[in-house]
Symmetry: C2
Subunit: 467 residues, 2 copies
């Protein structure tokens, strides 16, 4: 195979990576602030630490369980989606091909299957036209924040600690985030009221509040039914949207599930982010947003907020990969559109692991464990999800993590990254989604040794610093 293309009068083109070649250099100071935002660069550094200790037990990896992945499922599910198009949607072969290969509908092609899933699993009836299928829930967050951030006065509220992907999305659109206190029952509604008041006093417009009502990342906290109702009333009163993110709801520990905010919402103030990354698989990058708020003052045909988000999406990614949508569409079809049913096996794994972590913590650090080397170790007891938060009696920052990895062979995530560095200095997040019970036992033993070793005091520049 030779190319018809030659470059006249020159040798073969060379990469600027060759020494002495490149003239052009980009100065980072001339670029947008998001390029070096701590929320993002910290995650890179944490991954670097993890990468240097491949033999460590990792409570750091927040990725989904991999044991049920099956390459044979891909062609089968693509075929199931094609059959769905043929039989249920009545498409001929040309239209099936066009759906898979051509530029597609901006709002997506599996919206009706998603609507069926919401009806079945969430007791939620939504118009499929108010759904925008996105490149993961991450793109959905960017779209919503882009629309809501008209100018520098528009801000969004979020419980601290906050999912780092949400913080990242706000940075891309230069939108300020006002942190709200979080308790064991999720976002603190009194503090939310207070933060809204303060923001208004400063001349800001609180446009929305971001919440993960079930088993939040990173805290594992869940909201009570009573608080869900109060939150909706509050949002309605304050004329503010709620941005509900729901990636973990199926991973409950056997208790009856509580309804989503969206299902409870009579005021129409909830925008809902859904994701198939934890329930099907992350590689597809398929998420969606329900945005059924009616819009006023739009002359060009938008009826609901989803229509406006689609316009933004047409400038961001045009449409979500139809190949990926077809794969997830087939996944839905194969499971009768019930993700509750589809996630039964993996939910059992997460339930087993949560139990192992909580029992293991009790054994090693509980009242009857006799553990008191340098102070109390405490932890929360989430009723589901993929995360437990442990509070250590000393600072657990990136340096402490490095020591934990190198001396004790155990990795975790320092929580202060999720507070934008302002709190959570002694807290660590334990993620258990990809571990076996044996790895959990071994990892907690190592964690107990690390905790028992206490803080390391180091002398730097004449000061006594805890490492």
């Amino acid at each position: 195979m030779t190319t018809s293309l030659t470059i006249p009068g020159e040798a073969r083109a060379k990469s600027v990576a060759e020494p002495g070649f490149a003239a052009f250099r980009l100065d980072t100071a001339s670029l947008h602030a998001s390029v070096t935002d701590p929320a993002l660069t910290s995650m890179t550094l944490l991954n670097d630490i993890a990468g240097r200790y491949p033999a460590a037990v990792s409570f750091a990896a927040g990725r989904p369980y991999e044991g049920f992945y099956d390459t044979a499922s891909l062609p089968r599910q693509l075929r199931a989606y094609e059959e769905h198009l043929e039989k249920e949607a009545g498409l001929g072969p040309d239209d099936v091909r066009r759906t898979l290969f051509q530029y597609g509908r901006t709002k997506g092609v599996i919206h009706e299957l998603i609507a069926r899933h919401l009806e079945l699993d969430e007791a939620l009836t939504v118009d499929a036209e108010s759904i925008v299928v996105t490149t993961g829930a991450q793109e959905a967050m960017v779209l919503v924040l882009r629309a809501l951030r008209r100018d520098a006065q528009d801000v969004v509220l979020a419980a601290a600690p906050t999912y780092v992907g949400f913080l990242g999305a706000t940075r891309l659109v230069d939108m300020g985030v006002r942190p709200v206190r979080e308790g064991p029952g999720g976002i603190d509604l009194d503090d939310l009221t207070e933060q809204i008041r303060r923001a208004r006093q400063e001349g800001l417009r609180p446009r929305a509040c971001y919440v993960v009502p079930d088993f939040a990342n990173p805290s594992g906290a869940s909201m009570s039914l009573e608080d869900r109702r109060r939150l909706i009333d509050l949002a309605e009163r304050e004329d503010m949207l709620l941005l509900e993110d729901n990636p973990y709801a199926f991973f409950h520990a056997g208790i009856p599930r509580l309804p989503t905010l969206k299902a409870l919402d009579r005021a129409g103030c909830v925008v809902y982010f859904g994701s198939f990354s934890k329930t099907a698989y992350a590689g597809a990058r398929i998420g969606y947003v329900i945005a059924d708020q009616p819009v006023t003052g739009d002359d060009s045909g938008a009826v609901v907020f989803a229509d406006q988000l689609a316009r933004l999406k047409s400038m961001l990614t045009l449409n979500t990969s139809t190949v990926a949508q077809a794969a997830i569409g087939g996944f839905l079809v194969e499971n009768g559109c019930s993700m509750e049913r589809a996630t039964r096996r993996v939910a059992a794994v997460y339930r087993r692991n949560l139990r192992a972590v909580l029992d293991g913590l009790e054994e090693r650090f509980g009242a009857r464990s006799g553990f008191r080397p340098t102070g109390e170790v405490s932890w929360n007891t989430p009723s589901g999800g993929m995360f437990v938060v442990v509070t250590l009696p000393f600072v657990a920052d990136d340096m402490a993590l490095e020591r934990s990895a190198s001396e004790f062979g155990v990795l975790w995530t320092p929580m202060y990254h999720f507070y934008a560095g302002t709190a959570g200095l002694r807290q660590i997040r334990l993620s258990f989604s990809v571990l076996t019970p044996e790895q959990i036992t071994e990892g907690l033993d190592r964690l107990a040794s690390f905790a028992a070793s206490g803080p390391r005091l180091v002398h730097t520049k004449g000061e006594r610093t805890q490492s």
Copy 2:
């Protein structure tokens, strides 16, 4: 299948779409300006017009030819990519599964196959680490513009008429666009120099210039080798990046291809956007950017611009769908990484159609055709691509399009949309990618009747207006 979830004390949740239900309404005036940007809403309106005349011959649809799409190729190419991972990359079954289903590398997983394609087809040697695989080239544009737009003084230059997707991307990040004159040989370099000077005089920073050197959309114009070299010199002198977009280069009309700017670039100032939408298929939404510029002043490990773009991508879509990457990866593997080879059949279709359009225009409007009903009809003669521009002797706006569709059964795209409404009022874009020669003949006959009918003069509010 019944759900375990019920909503306590309430009937089944209802959609806010039901009448008398929703309280919350979003006022469009409170949203970001991009939501109602004319560049975007105009495309929606044009699609609406097209949708109302399904029987019309459409020179409006810019989508790729569909005749070679084959649903059987998907599982086959997924399997080819899996085999590539097994045999060439040496991955075991667990790693293959992880590559397909798990969260993936932010910069993508088919970067080495893309680098091989660039070497083969573009005589371009690039470090695969400087490639970021994106959700279509559209996401790549947003990433680059987001990085370059630090504040309101940063602007980008672009030949007018401009690809509407690029304009859309600038709107999402609030980046100003300075139009540059375009001639039959592409961007006018004297005017570019002048526009840079003026922007600087106004206190602005011209960060980059967007160019499609081969068969631009919408104009069909191509740059000479001499101008390509002069443009690179100019960019180097002005310390400005060139954003090269190259979706159509393989669809040349048999002439020897000219090298890309990136292949000619010795200064390291070219950022290159690639797309598989026209060469493989658009549904995958796979594009990429080569950003090998070294960066200075980045403390968190970025070596080249691509590393910083990846950080932004991790907040925008996390990573490009690995299912879609695997499908395109298999497409590359099956074609020995040569897209020249892969596009031979479709390039022949476009070549045939371009010939049919140019010959057909000559027959109907040329010097010997005797056509002079209301004035001259002229057109350009692109040497490849998917578009021809025709200049009519009267205003060809959306109202004229509506008349052309309803009375003559032929659709086209008014060019003034690509000039942000400031020029091109008598120009129309003819796209011929999805038509048969018979449809082209019929469509040009109808276009000739429309052109012969002349402008329609209507009286509105006492004024004489041309429709």
